[in-house]
């Protein structure tokens, strides 16, 4: 899907809004993470079904239906009136991938949630952010009863770049989530300051 942005004008004071994406497979803990640290806000998006989703969704019997409603995990942290952080859980199902470019545009970075019981679920997200050169880290949600792995094992299993952070955390714990977000922002800063060519370039295809 192709998007174009509105012609816009510079304002003298624009409330600063940073955006972090929370990606990962179904049940990896996206909703839990967002709820642990931010004010959960209702957000729906009504989207036209893309060609891709038409193949995936069973649209038989709904001939005239060309849109789908997606309820999104959306959280907001208001630090100050002029500084907010938004957390967007990216819809995991393949049929919603057409929304990812829109979500990723202008994002500070992404947290890819990994569940060691279903590590393959986050391959797609890792590929996506690597391809878009969006700073991301892999956060291994330590579920009760799930096998514990060292971050290095996860790095190898996901074939991550040497500098991509891998952290173990608990999505239910506010302090733990806070550390993950701090690690991501730090990493994004090193990416920006280490790469002068980085312009936060538009990520839309």
């Amino acid at each position: 899907m192709h998007y174009r942005h509105s012609d816009t004008v510079e304002a003298e004071v624009v409330p600063a809004a940073a955006k972090i994406l929370i990606a990962g497979g179904f049940g990896a803990g996206k909703t839990t993470l967002v709820g642990a640290i931010s004010e959960i806000r209702p957000l729906r998006t009504e989207e036209t079904l893309s060609d891709r989703s038409i193949g995936v969704d069973d649209v038989s019997g709904v001939d005239s239906k060309t849109t789908t409603t997606v309820a999104m995990d959306f959280g907001r942290i208001t630090f100050r009136t002029d500084l907010r952080l938004y957390l967007f859980g990216t819809p995991g199902q393949e049929r919603f991938w057409f929304m990812w470019d829109d979500l990723t545009f202008g994002a500070v970075g992404a947290v890819v949630l990994a569940d060691t019981r279903r590590l393959a679920d986050c391959f797609a997200a890792v590929d996506y952010f690597e391809h878009r050169a969006t700073p991301f880290l892999v956060a291994v949600n330590c579920f009760d009863g799930a096998p514990r792995y060292q971050p290095e094992d996860v790095r190898i299993a996901l074939d991550l770049a040497p500098d991509t952070p891998v952290v173990l955390f608990d999505a239910r714990q506010r302090e733990s989530v806070k550390k993950v977000l701090i690690a991501l922002v730090r990493y994004a800063i090193t990416k920006i300051s280490g790469d002068p060519a980085y312009q936060g370039r538009p990520l839309r295809s």
């Binding site: 174009r4 509105s6 304002a11 009504e46 849109t67 630090f79 806070k178 701090i182 994004a188």
Partner: protein, 125 residues
Amino acid sequence: MSVPKDRWLDRDAGPVVRPYAVTMGRTVPASGSYAGLTDVVTAVADGGIPAGAHLSRVHRRILGHCRQPITVVDLASDMDLPVGVVRVLLGDLSQYGALRVVAPPRGHETNERLLRNVLDALQAL
């Protein structure tokens, strides 16, 4: 238990009137361009609505909501309208000159400053 004929209209489907009815079926803003999720919308105080412009109740609600600058996502969330619908209606209002849509400034230095501010704020949480 009978299976509903239309599986889209389950309990989670939301209002039975499809949201795009609010836009009279339009899924793309009139200008063809979309406001970004974190673009900031502000109603123009003296925005003159052109004669003959059709403003619905929802258009007017949007205008009322963005007297103070507000991001597109917050607007959609506050009004409980899907983002896609809000974008179409914002496109109308923008064309009428009734509001301004401002994209967050981008660029290397701006991004780094924003990141450092967010880092400080997160650490102080």
